[in-house]
């Protein structure tokens, strides 16, 4: 990569000590997000996608986890060894976060306006009026019809979509270089989701803000992201441009996931489910974590495959000993 990455995670492994052992949540994850790029991380529950995003901002409860190897760097700052003070200036400054549940992210007892100006003034030297003006213009950008009166309202008076738009406005208030969005639209209806995603994308493009977008929804990735990483049981299994990964998946897991979507199946037909379940993260096999569910496994799969480019002239990477050869899926 010649571009300079905003976020880069190198060979990161994290475990959570629990009764009789440890949950190995991340196992050698390497990913990077370049300036102005929208990068998706897809995976099912337990894949480690949320742990990745939380760890990038060092938001996991102190003492609950152990970093066994690897490092994270955001804009050149070493996150794993950063002090809480460094993290505080980073969070909400150069890096902002958007979460799934827009209700809990706002204090229910204070008006939107006060909460917005407070946050803005925490990171920017502005007086109250200037902060208020900035809040109004940010809300306007988020297509909130009447920003002045919205500032006078309490969070519970807004709909879920409005709250999420307020939070996105807030996330952009300090011109961040990176936004980490963890399932930001999962709790929203599709009509609202479409609006929120479009506004988020438009604003990010305008300010050249990079986004790390965590989701389980393939279709949202397809609409929203430039590049995508697919995670399974704490490891990356496939990476590449959205088109490459979703339309010509090489890893058996990605292929299985796409085939399981009812969107792509004939109505009423049998869906191609992936047999079995996600492995227990406290008892991961030494080799490929997907092997037990994989149709093309062999003895070689007892060794853990690493993410490698499928041929030299491409960014499409896959962690599999037997990647599928077939070209584009009929999507």
């Amino acid at each position: 990569m010649t571009q300079n990455p905003v976020l880069s995670i190198n060979d990161l492994s994290i475990e959570f000590p629990v009764y009789k052992g440890a949950v190995k949540a991340l196992n050698g994850v390497s990913l990077h997000v370049n300036e102005g790029e929208i990068v998706g991380v897809v995976g099912e529950s337990g894949s480690g996608k949320s742990v990745t995003s939380m760890m990038a901002m060092k938001l996991l409860p102190e003492g609950s986890y152990r970093v066994t190897q690897g490092d994270i760097s955001i804009l050149g700052t070493d996150i794993i060894h950063a002090s809480e003070k460094t993290m505080r200036t980073l969070r909400g400054g150069d890096v902002a976060m958007i979460f799934q549940e827009p209700m809990t992210a706002l204090n229910p007892t204070r008006k939107i306006g006060i909460q917005m100006t407070d946050v803005i003034r925490l990171h920017r030297r502005l007086d109250n009026d200037a902060a208020r003006q900035l809040a109004i213009s940010l809300l306007k950008d988020m297509h909130i019809a009447d920003p002045e009166s919205t500032l006078q309202r309490y969070p519970f008076e807004l709909s879920g979509g409005m709250r999420q738009r307020v939070l996105i406005a807030l996330a952009f208030s300090c011109n961040p270089r990176l936004i980490i969005a963890d399932e930001p639209t999962t709790a929203l209806d599709v009509t609202v989701q479409k609006q929120v995603l479009m506004l988020l994308k438009a604003k990010a493009r305008e300010l050249k803000t990079a986004i790390l977008f965590i989701t389980h929804d393939m279709a949202v990735v397809s609409q929203f992201c430039d590049r995508v990483y697919v995670m399974y049981a704490g490891s990356l299994v496939e990476a590449g441009s959205t088109r490459q990964v979703l339309h010509a998946p090489r890893h058996p897991y990605t292929r299985g996931l796409m085939a399981a979507l009812p969107e792509l199946a004939t109505p009423g037909s049998q869906l191609q489910a992936i047999p079995g379940n996600v492995p227990d993260l406290s008892r991961l096999p030494a080799g490929c974590a997907f092997a037990s569910r994989c149709p093309s496994r062999s003895d070689k799969c007892n060794q853990k495959p690493v993410l490698t480019s499928i041929h030299e002239a491409t960014t499409h990477q896959v962690a599999c000993w037997h990647p599928a050869l077939q070209e584009e899926l009929a999507v």
Partner: protein, 320 residues
């Protein structure tokens, strides 16, 4: 419908009193369902789609008898009284729908146990639980385990087995796969389809996920603000939506295909209040093609140009 309906709803309305004055009399009502009429034929799968606030959860509660409609009639052809085995439900969240402190065999056979007023033979119950567990793909040896020892998908299988134990005519599936991962969703949808074939079950599938509804259902009803705005043959409604709301809904669903037009950010996505219902068409404030004709209340009518069943609640769909 040519066959006898197993279930028919006639002008079901549900209102909740809110905002009581000092004497406890309600000053306002939340209008959750505003006249739902439906007939469901044996063996079919009817999908009910809509967004939050459209009344689909209230609908589920009315169907399974947890909520009495304020007005209207619901008749089950089998004569089984509602709430006594005529209809069963599979909930969205398999985490909270199974009692964490009961072993699986007790969970599965609970409907039989409760219906027999708790006087049942334990061995027979265990055998029934084993049979049902095997049918839904849970290993019969596991019936002494507790819910937390199973994954989300397996828990949903257990919930399905429990619904089957009551031998219902109709199973209401309330967002049965929304809490599940994609690969597991496929397993559960396949299981449901297979059970429907082998047991001639009738399903009412309530979901916000248009793809799931398209995959599973013969017929589909689209709800908006407590009304059915469009109903008919699933392929027909989802491929050629006639009501502007259905059109908006389907256009908003993200697809794997080409990227949607990025310039047209949808505006006015807020639902009107269900305390004071709009006059005329409920959708007119958000409708791109609203006109003065929309001030009149709209009726659900067959679209004359279609041969299959396809009704819409919009004057634009009925040119006459």
């Amino acid at each position: 419908m040519t066959t006898m309906p197993v279930l028919s709803l006639k002008d079901i309305q549900v209102r909740f009193p809110v905002n009581p004055d000092w004497r406890g009399r309600p000053r306002q009502h939340v209008h959750a369902l505003n006249g739902i009429s439906l007939e469901i034929a044996k063996g079919e799968t009817l999908g009910i789609v809509g967004e939050s606030g459209c009344g689909k959860s209230t609908m589920a509660q009315v169907l399974i008898g947890l909520l009495q409609p304020t007005q209207g009639e619901m008749t089950l052809s089998s004569g089984k009284s509602n709430g006594k085995g005529g209809m069963q439900i599979v909930f969205q969240d398999p985490q909270s729908s199974l009692n964490p402190r009961l072993p699986v065999w007790k969970i599965i056979t609970e409907p039989v146990f409760a219906a027999a007023n708790r006087k049942v033979d334990k061995a027979a119950m265990r055998e029934l639980a084993q049979q049902l567990a095997a049918q839904v793909g849970i290993r019969p040896e596991y019936i002494d385990r507790f819910p937390h020892e199973f994954s989300g998908g397996q828990r949903q299988r257990i919930a399905i087995a429990r619904a089957l134990a009551a031998e219902p005519d109709i199973i209401v599936l309330d967002e049965p796969t929304s809490a599940l991962d994609i690969s597991v969703q496929a397993q559960i949808l396949n299981l449901l389809a297979e059970l429907q074939r082998s047991r001639q079950l009738t399903f009412i599938l309530i979901s916000h996920n248009v793809s799931v509804v398209r995959h599973m259902c013969n017929r589909v009803a689209v709800m908006y603000l407590g009304q059915i705005v469009e109903i008919g043959d699933a392929a027909q409604v989802l491929e050629h939506p006639a009501h502007p709301y259905t059109q908006l809904l389907l256009a908003s669903v993200p697809t794997l295909e080409s990227v949607q037009d990025e310039s047209a950010v949808p505006e006015n996505v807020e639902l009107p209040s269900n305390r004071v219902l709009p006059t005329g068409c409920y959708f007119k404030d958000r409708c791109p093609s609203a006109s003065s004709a929309c001030l009149q209340p709209q009726v659900l009518k067959q679209i004359s140009t279609q041969s299959q069943e396809h009704e819409a609640r919009c004057h634009l769909a009925h040119p006459d």
